[in-house]
């Protein structure tokens, strides 16, 4: 059969299919259903790539981009860098000293504070280049990259606060590139002890860098928030990969501590927690809730609910994973896709350490769409809410819940639920999760959460309200009236005041933990 004939045949076939499809919708449906069948099969068979792999790929991409751009834009600069790299350190140090004297120390100091676009900024960048080229080993290079990432975050924050979003965005990207540089460099560190120390340094720096960007994003207008959030998500993914990579070599720890996980759900949301796990790079996932026990997290609408406590080896952990059962009512009332996975898994990535003989409290805040993980040393932890009523959660999940727990989100459970008043107020002021539809894979899929945004427990219209309500409007209002940084403070401080009380209840705090 010649190609021509084949083409003609296929064209005819195509036409026939189209004709069939228009005449008999069933044919189209059948074709679609067999495609859906195969798509489902492949979905099952091919898990999404791991976030670490994605972050590592991103790091490689950004580094390649930086290299290409540098080669293209300034071959002379690359030569300079090679030259610098070849010089002994003392020569560079004295060169820098001469430069400092010539330029004046005051000039150098103000150059350090300069922002992009200002004349002195070029001096700042040049001195950074010198420092990068002068780095002697991988560890030094990694921490220098981290420091520069923090510096870019700082600049970006200041520009965001000044309302210059256009200038802040490339800075945030450059921050991600420096994090990528740190990732690569730290991957080359061979001494395990040094790698661990480095990872901890990365943790500290990244935390402060992201915190400053976050604060700035909260204060700036809509576009700035998006840009900053995007950069934050990028940087934190890269950074999580870096830390895990570095900590993979962490030597076995010498003792046991314990970890206690608390969860706060949005107003009106209740969920059945199937398991709570923590992740340690050198050991993998580890379950901290009791085996085969579920915990019902009630719809308190405020505060932290303890869900699991367990002894674990001391060391650095990088993730927490919560697996919620799909609400049965939700699945049936939905679009008829009852074949969905049985669980909603929420994973957070922010490292925390567990020291010997102490309890570390890890709070997972699910009131926002993107989960934020806070860790507190025991003393500063906000008091757990001790809900009364039939579905009291037990830390440890020692009391297995009935096998078919009915926990409709925002249903009658919400009405019965007594609410902790002061905390609830604070929560209400908190910004609602932004409708951030960027399809980030880290984003939790937990449906009940989103639904719970509606505070009124309406029987019917609730679902509609979820889909149609434009969330941007109320959110913006809330933001303008009430600066968010203050809210945050309020949120952090308020619980502390009640801390004593909670401690006297002596729920489980046997030790006075301290996070390092």
């Amino acid at each position: 059969v010649s190609t021509h004939e084949e083409q003609a045949f296929l064209l005819a076939l195509d036409a026939a299919i189209d004709a069939l499809a228009s005449q008999a919708p069933t044919a189209r449906t059948a074709e679609a259903s067999s495609a859906a069948w195969l798509a489902g099969l492949l979905d099952e068979a091919i898990p999404a790539p791991s976030t670490t792999a994605k972050a590592r790929g991103k790091a490689r991409l950004l580094v390649a981009l930086a290299t290409i751009e540098q080669e293209e834009a300034a071959p002379a600069l690359a030569r300079w860098q090679r030259w610098f790299a070849a010089q002994p350190r003392w020569a560079l140090a004295s060169g820098a000293a001469v430069l400092a004297v010539a330029a004046g120390t005051a000039t150098m100091a103000s150059a350090q504070r300069s922002l992009p676009g200002q004349p002195l900024h070029a001096i700042k960048r040049a001195s950074e280049d010198v420092a990068l080229a002068a780095a002697n080993d991988k560890a030094q290079l990694a921490s220098l990259n981290m420091r520069l990432a923090a510096e870019r975050a700082n600049e970006a924050s200041r520009l965001l606060l000044a309302g210059d979003i256009a200038a802040a965005t490339p800075l945030a990207q450059s921050m991600a590139a420096f994090v990528a540089g740190a990732v690569l460099a730290s991957g080359g560190v061979e001494d395990p002890a040094q790698a661990v120390a480095l990872a901890k340094e990365l943790a500290a720096t990244a935390q402060s860098a992201t915190a400053s960007l976050q604060t700035a994003a909260q204060w700036s207008s809509g576009g700035g928030q998006d840009a900053a959030r995007h950069a934050l998500a990028e940087a934190s993914a890269l950074y999580a990969g870096a830390v895990e990579q570095a900590l993979g070599v962490e030597p076995a720890a010498g003792g046991m501590g314990s970890v206690s996980v608390r969860v706060s759900l949005p107003d009106g949301a209740a969920g059945t927690l199937l398991s709570t796990e923590v992740y340690r790079p050198s050991k993998g996932w580890q379950r901290v809730s009791a085996q085969d026990a579920t915990t019902t997290v009630p719809a308190t609408g405020a505060g932290q609910v303890p869900v699991a406590t367990a002894p674990v080896e001391s060391g650095t952990y990088t993730r927490v994973r919560l697996s919620f059962a799909d609400d049965p009512g939700e699945a049936n009332a939905g679009t008829g896709t009852s074949e969905e996975a049985a669980t909603n898994v929420v994973e957070t990535r922010r490292p925390f350490s567990v020291s010997v003989d102490t309890e570390t409290v890890v709070s997972v805040d699910l009131t926002k769409q993107t989960p934020v993980l806070f860790t507190y040393p025991q003393d500063d932890a906000p008091p757990p809410v001790t809900p009364s009523g039939s579905n009291t959660p037990k830390p440890q999940g020692t009391a297995p819940q009935p096998p078919a727990p009915e926990a409709p989100p925002g249903g009658d459970a919400q009405d019965e639920q007594p609410k902790a008043e002061p905390q609830r107020e604070v929560k209400d002021e908190q910004p609602k999760a932004e409708p951030q539809r960027e399809a980030k894979d880290e984003q939790p899929k937990a449906e009940p959460q989103r639904e719970a945004k509606d505070e009124q427990p309406k029987a019917e219209p609730q679902r509609e309200a979820k889909d149609e309500q434009p969330k941007a409007e109320p959110q913006r209002e809330a933001k303008d009236e009430e600066p968010k940084a203050e809210e945050r403070e309020a949120k952090d401080e308020e619980p502390k005041a009640e801390e004593r009380e909670a401690k006297e209840q002596g729920s489980r705090s046997s030790s006075k933990g301290k996070r390092d």
Partner: protein, 209 residues
């Protein structure tokens, strides 16, 4: 046709919508677009490669290679108005071909394996079941011709439209649909022989035809 596929690209990547429209006339713009699309495209590229080569672990490394190679090849990119996705998947295709050639086409394909670690005992049954499904599917994919497998990878792995797939393979959309249809039929038969149950909707269709 171009207009339609552009629209799809824009819908699929809301953040990159601006750069989807803007003409990628310089290598720097192309590189920016590649970096811009990384987050959205990485999982799709990974899936495409996994279907082609039959290993999810190796696919992770190869998927990262695709983007780095795209950066390096940016100087040779010509903006014809088609979405940049098609170009990136073409690079992915070339990488896959290289990879398969290196490995030797006749060599046994490593079964698709997940990378997740699921420790808790309660999920062991579920996991086993899935591992079996994966093994079966992988064997079944081996029965397809190279062209069929490629269409399946592009349509269901990469999630591209028939017309985009057709442009990439130099076939019209009808031919793509025909290949897809034949591939699914084949898979269904092979899997049925292996004892994998069919969903009722698909079984119903079989009875009808």
């Amino acid at each position: 046709m171009d207009g339609r596929s552009e629209a799809t690209a824009a819908a699929a990547a809301p953040t990159g919508a601006a750069s989807a429209r803007a003409r990628l006339s310089t290598p720097a713009l192309v590189r920016a677009a590649v970096v811009d699309r990384y987050d959205a495209l990485f999982p799709r590229v990974h899936r495409y490669i996994a279907v082609r080569i039959g290993s999810t672990d190796a696919a992770e490394d190869l998927a990262a290679d695709v983007f780095v190679r795209a950066l390096r090849a940016a100087t040779s990119y010509k903006d014809t108005g088609r979405p940049i996705e098609a170009w990136i998947f073409r690079i992915a295709h070339n990488l896959v071909v290289d990879h398969l050639r290196k490995r030797g086409r006749s060599a046994n394909i490593v079964p698709l394996t997940g990378t997740e670690q699921i420790d808790s005992g309660e999920r062991t049954g579920e996991r086993l079941e899935r591992a079996q499904d994966i093994a079966l599917l992988n064997q079944a994919l081996e029965h397809l011709t190279e062209a069929q497998r490629q269409v399946i990878a592009l349509r269901f792995g990469a999630g591209l439209r028939s017309d985009t797939v057709g442009e990439m393979l130099g076939k019209n959309a009808g031919a793509v649909r025909y290949l897809q249809h034949a591939a699914i039929e084949k898979l269904r038969k092979v899997l049925a022989n292996m004892g994998m149950e069919m969903p009722s909707a698909v079984a119903g269709e079989e009875a009808a035809s």
